[in-house]
Amino acid sequence: DAGVTQSPTHLIKTRGQHVTLRCSPISGHKSVSWYQQVLGQGPQFIFQYYEKEERGRGNFPDRFSARQFPNYSSELNVNALLLGDSALYLCASSIHGGEKLFFGSGTQLSVL
């Protein structure tokens, strides 16, 4: 069975641009969460979606938005990119949310 897949794996953008990151959860998983991980730090919670509804939001500005589609895949959008947005963006899926998470390998975003 396929694990959590994220695309693209790497991305280079310039300040002010916007970016869309994509995530496909494990088949049967209805919850998707997004995390930002800066080098040397633990993942920071951005969003959680369950059955296409937002279930939680971390302390991130409104430039960050997400959605979940009927097939449970998800997109994370970041507008007006800043240098500080450079990080590894991780997507995780779970059956309901909160129990053990299955992470993808992430999208490494570099903002120049």
């Binding site: 959680q48 995780a92 992430g106």
Partner: protein, 112 residues
Amino acid sequence: SQKIEQNSEALNIQEGKTATLTCNYTNYSPAYLQWYRQDPGRGPVFLLLIRENEKEKRKERLKVTFDTTLKQSLFHITASQPADSATYLCALVLRATNKLIFGTGTLLAVQP
């Protein structure tokens, strides 16, 4: 303020010894706690989950303890191997929100 603290310095041990990693938290009342392993450039991988009413959990060479009075979890790897070298993350699951809050992680290096 709310904090999750893990050993900030890398832990170096000799192959065959027991590695003990610490996770301390303040101002949280987690429903349960999880431990993940993360290799460079990869997403975290779930290892163990322990609930607030459990004192200890084991899985093969891994053991986790959870003391809600001390607000501390200990993670043990017995008979450590070089392949156990990785960053280990603890994560609290908050009540009602199902949000996972990660610590900063501890880098474990097992020397042959």
